[in-house]
Amino acid sequence: MSQVEELEIELVQGEDFSAQIYWTDEDGNAMPCTTPGRLEVRDMYGAMLLQFASENAGSVATKAALVITGSDGIMQISAPRSVTTPLVPGRYLFDLFAVANNGVSPFTTQEVQVCSGWFIVSTRVTKMEVAPV
């Protein structure tokens, strides 16, 4: 029986957050993908906490962004500390939707859920002020 895995993304209040998700098919080959892509974080009542959007790819210094490198299947999510600082610590849900270029017939481009899981916002302990980037 296969092992079931759950995904958790952890973000600490006030940090400059950046992580990569590498999307492959069952054989481990990179999944060609394209914009738009979006990763939304919501609480159990559906209220949105945070949104990593490909539309913000040009504003990574000020907004939560999802940068998609299409041919490599790499999706980088990032959020500057100006965005992560006001987040309320807790346990939330997320899922990531993107567009696969090699969609399964009858689709040529197929909008699919890449992954989903828990999104953890942890309380920050250390207090430190750093000049804005």
């Binding site: 029986m1 296969s2 092992q3 079931v4 895995e5 759950e6 995904l7 958790e8 993304i9 952890e10 973000l11 600490v12 940090e15 400059d16 957050f17 950046s18 992580a19 990569q20 998700i21 590498y22 999307w23 492959t24 098919d25 069952e26 481990g28 999944m31 609480d43 159990m44 009542y45 610590p89 807790g90 849900l93 899922d95 859920q113 890449v114 992954c115 989903s116 899981g117 828990w118 953890i120 309380t123």
Partner: protein, 345 residues
């Protein structure tokens, strides 16, 4: 079935998602108990306050003659005041008998005077503390003179002293002559030193979990509807939004679109205004027609009641529409409207 394992992605990390292998999250679990985090520990005790002032001590070593007459004699002290290692609580004036405390506060004061007295001494001997030049003591002690030796008079008092008040020590008798051979004067400040600073605040307890969603609010009251059709004839209903309507392909009659706003009143009005231009409109005379319809479209028909005539607008002027009258009678002059074709048979 084995329990699910968790893959955690943190900042700086990379995760490979293989289609069909990594699963989503399970169902949402029940809300945890509403427990507030424990109160943080009490901060450490602040440092000890500063050490209180040491005793100030003054000595009178020169004999002071007391005569029967006059005010209580003022005791002049040595300038050598023992101060220890802390600030002296006394400020002495240069005259060596006026003094005040350095800081307003509580003080323990002890004064002891020795009178020579001895054989034949009578009456009483007094030592006291006086404010400024007053000859009435604030604190004092007196005892009968000792005929067998020196008379020692002393008193001690704890009092609140103001730094701005000048004091003097005076010695006196009740009328007898005597000699003060020595006065010892001690002053010590009472109370503890200043409090140390407050210790740091303990750590704040963790935040409790989010509470459950509140109940659905009550249904609002129904609206009162519209009082008149005018309320439905707002500017945004149709004509300023062409997407709401269209025209028929045959004659161009205004009609609403199925996707337009449901402004029935507007479309009834628009259609009525359109139809008015396509029927034979009736007017009293040409003046009435010009007043009510200043401009007309080509092909519009109108009827004038004063001449009982039918007119068609050709785009420039109104042309009379011919009316055929067939009769056996002879036509009368001026009886028929413009455009009448009269046929007598």
């Amino acid at each position: 079935m084995s329990a699910p394992s968790t893959v955690r992605l943190r900042t700086g990390g990379v995760l490979q998602v293989r289609t069909g292998v990594l699963k989503g999250a399970g169902p949402i679990g029940p809300t945890g108990p509403s427990v507030t985090g424990p109160t943080g520990p009490i901060g450490p005790t602040g440092p000890a306050g500063s050490v209180g002032d040491a005793t100030g001590q003054a000595l009178l070593t020169t004999s002071l003659a007391i005569t029967a007459a006059g005010s209580p004699a003022v005791c002049t002290f040595d300038t050598n005041v023992a101060t220890g290692t802390s600030p002296n609580p006394l400020n002495w004036a240069t005259n060596h008998f006026d003094f005040n405390v350095t800081q307003t506060g509580a003080y323990a004061l002890a004064v002891q005077a020795t009178f020579a007295s001895g054989t034949g001494a009578t009456g009483r001997r007094r030592i006291g503390l006086y404010q400024g030049t007053s000859t009435t003591p604030t604190f004092f002690a007196d005892i009968p003179a000792n005929p067998n030796g020196p008379t020692v008079v002393s008193f001690a008092v704890n009092t609140h002293a103001d730094a701005a008040t000048l004091w003097r020590v005076r010695a006196s008798t009740d009328g007898s002559n005597d000699t003060v051979t020595g006065v010892q004067f001690n002053l010590a400040r009472l109370g503890i030193g200043t409090a140390g600073p407050t210790g740091p605040t303990g750590a704040t307890g963790g935040a409790g979990p989010t509470g459950p969603t509140g109940p659905v609010g009550a249904t609002g009251s129904a609206g009162g509807g519209y009082a008149t059709y005018n309320a439905l004839m707002t500017s945004g209903t149709s004509d300023t939004n062409p997407a709401d309507g269209t025209t028929t392909a045959d004659q161009g009659a205004p009609v609403p679109l199925g996707t337009g706003k449901p402004s029935t009143v507007y479309w009834l009005t628009a259609l009525a205004q359109w139809v008015e231009r396509r029927i034979v409109a009736r007017f009293t005379d040409t003046a009435d027609r010009s007043s009510k319809r200043s401009s007309r479209g080509e092909g519009e028909l109108t009827w004038l009641n004063n001449t009982n005539s039918l007119w068609v607008y050709d785009g420039a002027t109104d042309q009379a529409v011919a009316q055929l009258v067939v009769s056996t009678a002879t036509p009368g002059a001026g009886t028929y409207p413009p455009g009448t074709i009269y046929v007598q048979v």
